[in-house]
């Protein structure tokens, strides 16, 4: 049976090696959705090269570094999961481009509203990777400092974070703060009522919010064809009077430009934008998922040329922005940042439940104080054992 790539090998090779390139292999499922999507890396070689040469070199390298950090995090997380050091983990392998771009295209004061699939974006705001890894370990140290990084707590229920993003953006405008908010969602999330209410409200009040919909064409085992009749998610924006941008999700430069354009609109008072990043889920839904049950791994592999790290690497190299060795070094640097992470996880002391109970309310109610947390003081000779 086909397997997804081993951790640390890329792209998603199984047998036949594939070459990173301008687009997915011929016949790749859902590749037609990429038509009309903005791209830099998908242009003819010479155009890509001239576009990349026009980028400030440091900005391009920063994007690559951000992607490399995300990849290093993701690979490490998968290993940690297999080692039993963290619990079930939703890999974002293949989403590094859009995620890195979304953070770097915004300012430090802008708000991000991640889902379970963007747990590492907070690291691009300076949060130690240990924190999100502790989240997947089920350790309360996994909750990052929301106000410091302006990244909301990871939102597990699908689409429930999107109204929050609207409220933050709208509220900031009401308070005269110059900031935008970005809410992440998947193709599946667009089917949920909260997506709808968020988009409608944002449009009506003109909230400076960006809905970044990562259309990876799958919601666990549910293909986009079974999720919506309108697989070009951007088309849904018109129902709210929201402009939309379609962009190649595996193209960090195009994604950067798309988010930046949306942010510019928001900042200049033009309200919300929906950015549809068109990609394909290159890996399983998460470590507990078994995609061979529901999709054809052979044809999935036709998307391997789009794997964003290698694709970006080759394009930057071809454009002469950086040498292959320089880029490899960035990758190594990113991986090195995590070298002691397994140890750091293990050595993070457990938190007593009494301490957690004291974090629920500003003033801890009597039922949650240490003396009563397990049970009220019982009559008779008993009491907590």
């Amino acid at each position: 049976m086909l397997q997804y790539r081993a951790v640390g090998t890329e792209p998603n090779h199984v047998g036949t090696p594939v070459t990173p390139g301008r687009g997915p292999g011929p016949g790749a499922p859902g590749a037609d959705l990429l038509e009309g999507a903005r791209t830099v890396l998908g242009l003819p070689d010479s155009e890509t090269t001239s576009r990349l040469r026009a980028w400030p070199r440091q900005a391009a390298l920063d994007l690559f570094l951000a992607m490399a950090r995300l990849r290093a995090f993701d690979e490490r997380a998968v290993i940690l999961q297999r080692q039993g050091r963290i619990g079930t983990y939703p890999t974002f392998y293949g989403e590094e481009a859009v995620q890195a771009a979304s953070v770097l295209a915004l300012r430090a004061e802008d708000w991000l509203f991640p889902t379970y699939r963007q747990t590492a974006v907070v690291t691009l705001r300076g949060c130690p990777p240990l924190v999100p890894l502790l989240m997947w370990r089920g350790h309360p140290g996994g909750w990052h400092d929301v106000m410091r990084y302006r990244v909301a707590p990871v939102c597990v229920p699908v689409a429930t974070n999107l109204p929050h993003a609207v409220g933050a953006a709208w509220g900031a405008r009401l308070r005269g703060q110059d900031l935008v908010a970005l809410g992440y969602g998947g193709d599946g999330a667009t089917s949920a009522g909260d997506f709808h209410e968020a988009c409608n409200l944002a449009a009506v009040v003109g909230a400076p919010v960006i809905f970044l919909i990562n259309n990876n064409q799958w919601a666990i085992s549910t293909p986009i064809s079974r999720q919506t009749k309108v697989p070009r998610i951007a088309e849904k924006a018109a129902a709210y009077g929201i402009p939309a941008i379609r962009v190649d999700a595996f193209d960090v430069f195009a994604c950067f430009e798309a988010v930046q354009e949306a942010a510019d609109r928001a900042r200049s008072g033009q309200g919300p934008t929906l950015v549809e990043a068109i990609g394909y889920r290159l890996g399983p839904h998460g470590t507990a998922d078994e995609p061979s049950l529901y999709r054809d791994l052979e044809s999935d592999r036709l998307w391997d040329p789009m794997e964003p790290l290698r694709r970006t690497h080759l394009a930057l190299e071809a454009a002469g922005v950086a040498t292959s060795a320089e880029l490899d070094q960035v990758r190594e640097q990113a991986a090195a940042e995590l070298s002691d992470i397994g140890q750091a996880i293990e050595s993070t002391p457990a938190v007593a439940v009494e301490e957690i109970a004291a974090t629920v309310h500003l003033e801890t109610p009597w039922g949650l104080t240490p003396d009563r947390l397990f049970e009220p003081s019982w009559p008779g000779g008993g009491g907590p054992g």
Binding site: P140, M147, G171, D194, P376
Partner: protein
Amino acid sequence: MSDLVEVNMVEAICRGLGQLLEGDQESLLLGEDIGANGGVFRATAGLRGRFGEERVVDTPLGEAGFVGAAIGMCLVGLHPIVEIQFDAFVYPAFEQLISQAARFRWRTRGAYGLPLVVRIPYGGGTRAPELHSDSPETLFSHMPGLRVVVPSDPLSAGEMLVAAAELGDPVIFLEPKRMYRRGRQAVPQTFQPADLDRAVIRRPGTDLTVIAYGAMIEVADAAAQQLEQDGVSARILDLRSIYPLDRGAILAAAEETGRVMVVHEAARHCGLGAEVAALLQEEVADRLLAPTLRVTGMDMPFPLSQNEDDALPSVGRVLAAAHSMLDY
């Protein structure tokens, strides 16, 4: 007494909201039809005119959307006060409240709370159509992380509203709509914040205690008056906070009167009456002179208006429970 003003409950709430908008530039109101219309109960009457449409905001439909947005607003320093039009229309926002608002402080390891108030006119007795008479307090108090409070008269409505807005954690503020226009009370021009942790003895008494809240205080009071004529001294404890409970006041009632009953409109099964009965068992079983009884709504959908009086706890049922306890 020129600093007092006679108001009914809905006016008190409106004044409290005005006071908050006046005193706190970061506060704002969100909800359906609260602007020009002043709310379907007129709880925001006149506020749009005074504070403008950026502070008294008519939202589109979609309770999940605007409750969710209010959560987001808190992150950028606003203090939203949301109106849900009627009790049963909070359910679309249930996930936003239970899985999101309730968990924010916990998700920040205690560091940050959401200064969010969700006002919900609730309960029966107004001859309203279906799904306009629900009592959802148990839902919000069972699922952890929210404060749930219920005022019972104009003064407590104003004082508790002001306190809720200052609390720094999300508060479900349930307004017994049956009491909205049930009489006036002299209240100060400016409300002082109530101590939300404290239940209040509405009537002193030594023979038994009726624990109630919201519109049921009135029922309890009518019953207590009748009991007094029979020589029975009934204490009325107005809980005010459904979560957390004022444990001290409840235990004191049991210890001092020996008999406790609980009256609420919400369904009986796993309602607040059950919680009080269980708490008394655990803590002061040996001080009870009679079992704790419950006079509650029925375990069925709240009836259409022709039958609502049958389903609402009545003076008669409170008296019957009192006599059952006294005769025990």
